[in-house]
């Protein structure tokens, strides 16, 4: 567990560095539409890629396990404008129940 400390601190500094950079650089960069649009696109792509890994990856295998129906339920809830926490909790319950009742991994 202690072996994670360097990574925790480096990652925290790395994320903070963007925030500080924004307060140091000239403000006119923020008015450059193309740069802002690029940052938004990259954010969407990263979150979607992380979503794919969290839903489908089991080590180096791509699997459809009980995370998949759980995420489908969460998606339905987001679509119905449910709060974040409700959807996340629902996903956990669906996956846990499928594992408990049907032994589906």
């Amino acid at each position: 567990m202690d072996k994670y400390w360097p990574a925790v601190l480096v990652a925290s500094l790395a994320v903070y560095s963007w925030k500080l950079l924004g307060f140091i650089l000239p403000a006119k960069i923020a008015k450059n539409e193309a740069v802002v649009v690029f940052a938004n696109k990259l954010t969407i792509a990263l979150l979607a890629a992380l979503f794919a890994v969290q839903t489908l990856a089991a080590g180096h295998a791509v699997v459809l396990d009980s995370r998949f129906p759980a995420v489908a339920v969460a998606g339905l809830l987001y679509w119905r404008k449910a709060p974040f926490l409700v959807a996340v909790l629902a996903a956990a319950i669906v996956a846990a129940m499928l594992r408990l009742l049907f032994g589906w991994q």
Binding site: A7, W18, Q54
Partner: protein
């Protein structure tokens, strides 16, 4: 930062900022639980919420650690770092709004996140814009850290995270983070491409790497498409739909 309490009363920006702070802070519960379940200590989890303080980056960091363990620390750091880029743009905007120097600038930078920027940007007057930033940023910071701690306590005491569906909760959390951003066809196309490339890279690539390759490639392809006649084709298809 010197706002008198009396001047706060009756200003809509105050209730908005506190509401956003409480609602967002609650996600900290899921972050704390997932972080502890990923194998980080309660203190490490708390340090992430105190010093990284950016939900997307924090979920990314512990998500990669959960999947890859100690071998995944480099892609975990890179994923978190790349997701933090957007805060840099918020910071550029906030620097113009706040005009702060010294320690307030250091603190303002730390409080620059999706929510504080959004609350500030939605105000009409300059003073509400400043106040909204400080109040929303401060409220999210306090509640996010409080709920992170509670979540970490919970996550470290429940044993196998899979039994409780915490892995599915993590997946649902990322869906919830990307969902509000999928407001047009192009955003949907980027997300879909990123998912497809990631799926193909999971097998051959070391753990954690698929994300940091697939995401930039998906963005690059959308830029490349914009430069070709396919753009016109897509636009025609979009308007027909």
């Amino acid at each position: 930062m010197a706002f008198k309490v009396a001047t706060l009363r009756g200003r809509p920006v105050v209730s908005m900022a506190i509401g956003v702070g409480m609602a967002t802070g609650l996600y900290g519960l899921s972050f704390g639980a997932l972080s502890a379940a990923a194998g980080l200590s309660i203190w490490q989890t708390q340090v992430l919420s105190l010093f990284m303080f950016s939900g997307g980056s924090q979920f990314a960091f512990v998500g990669v650690i959960a999947a890859s363990g100690l071998g995944g620390v480099v892609p975990a750091i890179v994923s978190a770092w790349l997701l933090g880029i957007r805060n840099g743009f918020y910071a550029l905007r906030m620097n113009g709004v706040l005009s702060v120097v010294g320690l307030p600038k250091i603190i303002a930078a730390q409080l620059t996140i999706d929510e504080s920027n959004a609350v500030s940007a939605s105000q009409e007057s300059e003073s509400d814009s400043k106040l909204g930033f400080w109040l929303a940023g401060g409220a999210v910071f306090v509640f996010w850290n409080l709920f992170t701690y509670l979540g970490a306590l919970l996550g470290s005491s429940i044993g196998d995270p899979g039994t409780w569906g915490l892995d599915a909760a993590a997946a649902a959390a990322f869906l919830g983070l990307v969902w509000p951003r999928l407001h047009n066809l192009q955003a949907g196309a980027i997300a879909a491409l990123a998912v497809i490339f990631t799926v193909f890279l999971i097998g051959p690539m070391p753990s954690g790497i698929p994300v940091i390759i697939a995401a930039p490639v998906a963005v690059a392809i959308v830029y490349a498409l914009k430069r070709t006649s396919l753009k016109k084709y897509l636009e025609a298809g979009g308007s027909r739909g």
